[in-house]
Structures are given as C-alpha cells and as structure tokens.
Symmetry: C3
Subunit: 335 residues, 3 copies
C-alpha cells in the first residue's frame, strides 16, 4: 500500500483487508513486525488521539516514531510560495516536509482546513501540495476534507459491535459548537457509511447542508455499495429506527470561513445537542458515536455520552488498531 489518504481510493477488498489486519493485530500482537522502522509525524494542528495512538501503534509493532510540531520547539514554518522570508518564520514547509520525510519510512501529516476557500478545502489542495513534497508514503492524519484513520476505526467499531452493513440505519447528525469546525470528519464519515452500504441520513439544519460535491461523492459510493443517502432537518423523523447516531459539529458551507456569520447562524440552534429524548423512536439498542474531542452539554448531553449507547471510547481505541493495520500494510511491504 502506497500511503493512506482516503478510504474511497481503496478497492472494497483493500478496505476489508485493512479491517482484517486490524482485528488480527488486536488479537495477535506482532511486536517485531516493524523493527527498525520509523514513522515521521508532522502536526500542524492540535491533537490528542492522533498524536498518541500513532506513537502507540508504532511501538506495538516494534518500530518507533518522532513528532515535529510548530508548538514543540521547532522553528516557525512558512507555507506561502514566492514570499521573501524576512519575518518570524525561519523555515519553509517546502524544505521541512522533505527533510522530515527523509528521516522516516512514512510521513503522517495533520493539517486542518485553512477555511479560506471552500473549493480549495474540498479539493484538499493544501494537503496535496504538501504530500507531493514527500519521497516516502504519506498518511493523512486529518486534512481539510479527510480523516481516513477515523473512518477506518469507526468502520471497525461498527463491525466489532455487530452493527449491520446493509440495512443498518446510520444518522450523521450536525451538532452545535462554540467554534466553526472543519468538514473533514462529516465528509469522511458520510463517505465511510456509504461505502459500508448503510442507509444513511444526514440530519442538519438547512443552513448546514453539506456541500454538493461532498454529497455527490457519497452518493456515488452508496450507489456502488448498495447503500443509500438522504437528508433531513428533523431529528425525530431522522432517528426513527436508527441503528447508530454519529454526532459532529461542522461549518456552514454558505458562510464558509466567516466565523461571525457562523456564530450568528448557530444562535438559534442550541437545541442541536444530542439528548436521550432524541432516541425515542430509534432502535432500542441504537448506538451513539462521536470522533472526540466532544463538548459536553453543547454537542451531546452527559447522560447520552456516559450512557450504554455511547461507544466513543471504543471508537477512540480502534484508532490504534486501525492505524496499526495501515502502518503494517505500508511499512511491512517496504521491508
């Protein structure tokens, strides 16, 4: 496997193979599989799960990793082209990335959306420009529009719990949030649920409909997997018969990058906090999913988050096993 950027770039069998590898490594450790291998990790955005689960993943396979981050004692980084660097930034990303890559057998990059141009972010232009600078395989640790490690972990979580693929009702629900968040998780989650062949409902207020391109890609995946996608702005209706509710805050595409406008839009939407009453008409064992970190009392109530339907810790733990599978496939081949 040459890098890991998007689940939809993989054939269905390749996804199954990753899931099988993840499940196998969870049961049968291979503590020398990646002996002497090094994973370079570049964090241009904050992280808890990604930062620690990638380190743990490499250690459990007998390899190791190092972390570079502008918060962690390295020089400030410039990313604009053609600029005279007489300011604070001491190094250009066009040097930093090939250098870091050259110390690793693969390079993970996390870089949240710039949220300056919706089209640039949907096409993941910043991330692609960085990825092209690396001579070694790139792992997308969350970019403007993608979070494939999260999606693979979520897929495994639903498999672990025996949630049906065909016929499973997956509700991706928008939620309120004090900040304007990127589209990476909702876009990737929608794509993943569609690829898994589920009956997906995107539940959101009208102003927070996902961009057309994002919806179109997901429809394509649903068409080839036998799944389906619909939209709703009514929680009660959307959750009727639901197998799983996946909550996530995201920005409105119509005022993308305008944080004041986003705040104004959300003022009347404080009811978009997932509560136990939302599940009245859901399947009795309907699950609650979220990628974390989650704002308690804003995105979801304490009761739901700490209750039996919540599988958020299971999801987070699966980040490690999913990434171990990815690393195994990329780096074991290379050895």
């Amino acid at each position: 496997m040459r890098g890991f950027n998007d689940l939809s770039e993989l054939a269905p069998e390749a996804v199954e193979h990753l899931l099988d590898t993840a499940k196998r490594l969870e049961k049968h450790p291979e503590p020398r599989a990646l002996e002497g291998k090094v994973l370079a990790l570049l964090f241009l955005s904050p992280s808890l799960r990604t930062l620690t689960s990638f380190q743990a993943a490499m250690l459990r396979l007998g390899g190791g990793s190092f972390v570079a981050s502008p918060q962690g004692g390295i020089h400030g980084l410039e990313s604009r082209r053609g600029v005279t660097m007489d300011g604070v930034a001491a190094e250009h990303i066009r040097e930093a990335i090939p250098v870091l890559a050259s110390y690793g057998d693969a390079l993970g990059i996390r870089a949240f959306a710039a949220r300056e141009s919706l089209d640039d972010d949907i096409e993941d232009r910043d991330f692609q420009a960085m990825a092209e600078l690396s001579p070694v395989p790139i792992i997308n640790m969350e970019s403007a529009i993608r979070h494939p490690c999260q999606s693979l972990a979520d897929w495994k979580t639903m498999d672990d719990l025996g949630l049906p693929r065909a016929g499973g009702k997956f509700v991706l629900s928008w939620a309120n949030h004090p900040r304007a968040l990127p589209l990476a998780v909702p876009a990737s989650t929608l794509q993943m649920a569609a690829m898994r062949g589920m009956e997906v409902t995107v539940l959101r207020p009208d102003e927070f409909a996902l961009p057309e391109k994002v919806m179109a890609r997901a429809h394509e995946s649903a068409a080839s997997s036998g799944g389906s996608i619909r939209e709703s702005d009514d929680p009660r209706e959307a959750l009727s018969g639901a197998t799983v509710v996946y909550a996530k805050a995201w920005s409105s595409a119509s005022h993308y990058g305008d944080d004041d406008a986003q705040r104004a839009l959300k003022k009347e939407l404080t009811g978009w906090c997932v509560e136990e009453s939302w599940f009245d008409r859901a399947a009795p064992d309907c699950r609650f999913m979220h990628c974390l970190p989650v704002r308690r009392g804003v995105v979801v109530s304490d009761e739901v988050l700490e209750g039996e339907r919540s599988v958020v810790i299971h999801q987070a733990r699966n980040r490690m096993w999913a990434q171990m599978a990815v690393l195994y496939e990329i780096l074991k081949e290379a050895s």
Copy 2:
C-alpha cells in the same frame, strides 16, 4: 501488581521485592522484557525527572511510551463535572483518560494538588477520580498527597549507601521557598522513612506542622515497622546524631491554598535554608537528600548541595531503576 499508588498499600515483602527487582535490573539489563508494551503518560503538571526517567525506564526494558500534556499540543482539558463546555477546553478528562489508557498497557498520571481543600488533597480525591476512569493499571507519578516513585527511589538510595534502617536517624526538614508547594513529597517521604523503620524527626517551624492525618498515618507505619516519629522546631537539636537530612519546602496546613498568607508566614523564616553549620552535631557522614528540583540559596546552600554529603543525583538516578521495577512488576505479569 495492579498499579502503583502508595508504598503503604504494599506489604513489606512487596516493597522488598520491588527494591530487589530495581537492584537486579540496574546490574543485569533485560532489554526485551517489555517488548511491544506501551506506557501512556499524562502530565497535568510540569516535570523533568518523572517525564524523562519513565521514558528511559520503558526503553531500557524494550518497550516504549508516549507523553500527553496540555502544554504539548493536545486540546485544553476540562475536569469539572456537569459543566456546559462552551469555553476554551475542547475535551473532558472523563474522555481523555480512558482514551489515553486504552492506548497503553498502563497509564501514569501526574497531577499536583489543586490546593483548594486540604481535606480533598489529603484524601487525594482528584487523583482517585481520575484513576477510576482507567481500565488499565495506574501509576501515580505525583498526586496531591503522594509521590511513591520518589519514595521507592529514596529507599533504594539509602539501601545503596548502606544507611541503617532500624536506628537510622532520618530528619525530614522543612525549608523556605518562594512558592507555596504541595504536601505530596513530605507526606510520602515521612511515610517511607517510617515504613523503613527509621527514627524520624519532622523538623519544621510551628506554622508548618504537617496535617494531623498525615502524621497519624506515618505513626501507624512506624508502629508496625518498629520505627518512631517525633517533631521539632529546632534544627540544632533535631540534627543531633542524624544519619540523613531530607529537605523539602511545603505549604502551611493552617493557611492552605492562601498564597499571600503563605508568603507572609515565610518572611521571617529565611533561616530555614540548609547550610553546612546545621550538621555540626550530626553523624560525621550524615547525608543530604532532596527530591529535586531544588532552589539553591533558598532551600539549601551551594556548599551543602555540591558537597560530599549530598546524594541528590543518586536519588534522581534511582528514579529510573525504581520505576523500572514498578513497570516490570505491572507489565511483565500482564504479558
């Protein structure tokens, strides 16, 4: 061994076994003992020795570790219950801890005293609440009232140097300091010296007597080990015949959490800086101990700290061997 929280929770033989393991690993490396094992480390308070010695300890046993810290690029963490998270903190400790724990085979947590309630701190309520969230063994890397890794290292240091257990005169001396410091080290050190069966004197100005509960616990340990505990406010008298002087600054229990009052109390106490003259009536080879970091010229003079009686570097180095023993007992059993 299921976690490591307090020396006094261990039977005397269990402590001896840890000390034996530490001494054995110091002499005979086992660089594959913990192959594929991962230690998760959460630092909610600053650290030098703990941060680095735990990493070194895992490496020397063939395993590895990762560090999470609010200073190190992860999201701000909320710890209050029932709060609506619409402020700066993006994640609740009730998610962060089980997630970090899920990536490790054990979880070390450092969290200094909140110093808001003396009783909460003495009962270690914040730490216990965090520890209960972890599905894997917890290692106390210093909490409000405990620092068992330091105490095990100090015990080993005295063993290494041949300092007698029964009959050894151990003086735990309060010292001045510009800041109001927690009670973890004095409480743990007192407990450790009592468990070791030594004749302990707590030397401190009246206003800095250790809390009753702390003294009572130590008296109990002394009773069962054959040691003894007394208090003094006179350095000259207390150090008479002393085998070892262990200096440490700590807060006054009577104005706990009130930093202005603490400062006022200490104004007249600048004489409480350990100097060579303190040792006039001590045993000729009386040792000086301190857990570090130490304020030169405030807690101890340069002369004593750099002199022959000082064993502070030996103590610090023993942190690694002591923690290797703890990790070995917790993680080797688990494998």
Copy 3:
C-alpha cells in the same frame, strides 16, 4: 569514541571511520545494534533537523531517546553560578544535566551562543561547563561555536556526490538575514572543508570577516590536510571555478551581540542573497549547500534552492546517517 564535540579533535582516520560507518549503516541497517540503549537529548535552543534526526537515528539502531526542553513542560532552568534562586527558574542546570545524563548512555546538548562575549563563545565556555557536568559521553548538537554533526553530514554529502577533496573549490559565502545569527555553522563548515583538503574561499563583506581565532584554526587544519584558505569580498571572483557554494548568515564579530548594530550593517547588504547569476563563472555542475533552515528570498533565491544544483535535502538527510555513525561508535563500544 568518548563523546563527539568537534571534528578537529578526531584523527583523520577516525573521521574516515565515521564516514564509512555512516555509509555502511545507510546501506545495511542494524536494527538491534543499540538495543536497550538510551540517548538523552537536552534542547536549550530550537531545532527541527537535530530534534528529529537524532530520534530517528536511535530508533533505526534499535535504541531510543527522550527529549528535555524548557519549552516542553520541564521547569525553567537557571545557569548562573552562586545565585539565590528565588525567581522563576525552579532548577539549576548543575542538577538538570547530571540527572538527565544519568538516565542515558550518552547526552546530546544543544545550546546556541549567548552572544554576550565573543571570546567566551569562540572558546565555547558555556558548553564546556555543561559538558563537564555529565558522567556519560556528550554529543554536541550545536554549541556557540561548533556544529560537528552538521559538518560530518556535509562531508558525507560531498563524498556521496563525488565532489573532489584535493582540488575541490569550496566557497563559504556569508548571506543576509533578518536576525543576528551565531558563528557555529560557519566556523564548523570552514574547519570541515579545510580538513577535507579543499581549496576554500571565505566570501563575505569586510564587516563580516570571521574572527581571527576561527580563521587561524582553519588555516592549521588546511596546512595539515593539504588544503588552502583565502578570503574575498567579491562573489563573482570568489565563485570562479567553484565546485560548491555553501551559504550561511552569521554575525559580525566587530559588533558581536549588538543586534541593532548588526541590523544597521546589513542594511546595504541585501545583495548578499545567492542567486543563479552568482554561478556564471562557477563550474557547470557547481552545487549549492546550506544547513537549513534557510530564509527564501533573503539568503538564497527560490530558483537556486529548488534548482538542480541544490543539495540541501541530501545534506539534511545525511544528518541522520552521520549521527547514527556517531551513536554507533559511542554506544556500541559501551555495550
């Protein structure tokens, strides 16, 4: 090998041996060579390549490392002697260094020039004072006047590319920069090129001549290697027939530590940015070298940096292989 501080402290055969080891390890990995070995890393100055390449180097040899840095959650460090520590710094470097060293089998230290006294910096007094506190071998990861890891990597880079030793024309060129930078890289680079037996030209405006002592040491090395050293202030003349141009900004020795004066001196020198036209009379395949990080449009043009003559990424990558050789020679012997 007992530590690594300066290429010129090594016999020519010892340098060759390091280069051979670096080349061997690049081709034939030894992922268990340093099993159970620990490298302690203390960063008192920022870093990207050094920080990450040392970690990668230890991992590729089967060992590990840990990083301590005042930016990374450890206590503030005091370095002055005889001071009463009642301010912000909680720990003295005289404790911190032996403690960190005691957890490692070797200790790497990075500490940029204080730029308070030119003579202190040229004699590397701060670094030597720190190095003397360590009971384990010290690796110089850049001090006031030395950067031996960079120089070894650069030497290997020229070997890799087949650049001639005797007869190769090496131009070390001063370049403009918004900040007043230390002398470590120019001094080490000059020394390295001299030791390699090359015909070296130091190209700089008059105000930026390197200090006499630095020049004298390099002349000595050139004398024994059969190389030569001359100075010039004319890019066109200096680059005539050049095999390689190594650009670097550095401070003027005549106004050392006076940042305002340095800025004033550089106002008229914005032409000292390496551009393609500089190479008109150079050898056709003349290479461009720089240690990175580099300021685009100030030190070098985008065109040169991204063009075919630029080998800066190759240099950076060789940091890892060079350091692996150093670590191998220091730590493998110790095992």
